[in-house]
């Protein structure tokens, strides 16, 4: 009987440990966003690790909105792209090794946002398909060159038909998968990722969202144990 109790207790402990939430607060995850809050963000051209050549260009139309609504001043992309182009820079990868403090001198930006597109794919299966967009975000301080915030996410949008009629499903899957735009999915990725970012000065919750438990620690290189 005693042993049974012990066993029960042990299994309960295992259960409890298994249930520990991966969620941490914004303050715990990204303390530097509070000790050194940036006001303006320079979004450099996305770094493309996907197989789609047009991904960075299309993606660039989706990023200013969520960052601005998070309370930051986003350096206007047509301007920054124009000025960077003049310097022969069209890919963010060219800037990754550049001393981040240069962006303070050149543009007076407080932080630089690097977005790496890891996936921008359409997949077909016999009975299904999906559109996948995956991206990683790094916000780097132009004062200290340190990473202030990092997060990554992958969104898989299922495009399978499910009428129960196999032939009809295969056809409708092919059609919807082909028609599904990456951009709405990229927007969902942005919303998920930017939701973990402590908000900036134009947002009414600025400086007050530290206790928000919205960061999955497995999705940020800064909180992975």
């Amino acid at each position: 009987m005693k042993q049974l109790l012990k066993l029960l207790l042990a299994s309960q402990i295992v259960l409890l440990v298994g249930c520990v939430s991966p969620m941490v607060t914004k303050q715990e995850a990204f303390p530097k966003m509070y000790s050194e809050p940036p006001l303006s963000i320079l979004v450099v051209p996305a770094i493309n690790h996907s197989t789609a050549a047009d991904a960075p260009d299309l993606y660039s139309t989706t990023i200013a909105h969520p960052i601005a609504e998070a309370g930051y001043y986003v350096m206007p992309l047509p301007l920054t792209n124009f000025l960077l182009n003049q310097e022969g820079i069209t890919d963010g990868a060219q800037l990754r090794e550049v001393d981040a403090t240069k962006f303070k001198q050149l543009f007076d930006a407080d932080a630089v946002l690097f977005v790496t597109i890891n996936q921008w794919d359409t997949n077909y299966y016999v009975t299904g398909g999906n559109v996948t967009v995956g991206a990683e975000f790094d916000l780097v301080s132009t004062k200290t060159s340190e990473v202030l915030w990092n997060y990554h996410s992958v969104i898989v949008h299922n495009t399978s038909g499910n009428s129960g009629n196999l032939i009809a499903d295969i056809i409708s899957t092919a059609i919807t998968t082909a028609l599904t735009d990456y951009v709405p999915i990229a927007r969902i990725v942005n919303a998920t990722v930017v939701g973990t970012m402590p908000v900036g000065k134009y947002h009414k919750a600025h400086g007050k969202d530290g206790a928000m438990q919205s960061v999955n620690k497995h999705q940020s290189s800064q909180t992975k144990g």
Partner: protein
């Protein structure tokens, strides 16, 4: 009958929440994302004109919607005017971006001086 009532009221609740969420935004974006995307994916005179009209529409409507004009709208309009050689309009829109968002001062001044240089040449 009851089920229908429940469904309609939950639909209403959904609509209300959707509206509330929308009202929480700081800025008025109009259909910026749609026209910007169309211009990027298919750059033609038509998609460009539509995007320009949308930028002007955002500036005209923001006040009535009780929202602010988003960062970069004036600057983007200035770029389009500069491409069309409307230098004075471009300089003026750049100035408005700077007034609205002082964080842009440095980058706007860079654009203004490069535009003035182009005119002199």
């Amino acid at each position: 009958m009851k089920a229908i009532k429940i469904i309609t009221s939950s639909v209403f609740a959904l609509i209300l929440t959707a509206c509330a969420a929308n009202n929480n935004s700081i800025y008025y974006w109009g259909s910026y994302s749609v026209t910007a995307y169309k211009l990027k994916s298919e750059p033609t005179a038509e998609t460009r004109a539509k995007h320009k009209a949308e930028l002007q529409n955002i500036i005209a409507q923001a006040d009535a919607k009780n929202k602010r004009i988003p960062p970069g709208i004036y600057a983007e309009l200035a770029m389009l005017e500069a491409e069309d050689n409307n230098v004075s309009a471009a300089l003026q829109y750049f100035e408005q971006e700077k007034q609205l968002f002082p964080e842009s001062s440095k980058i706007i001044e860079l654009m203004q001086s490069s535009l003035r240089k182009e005119v002199k040449q």
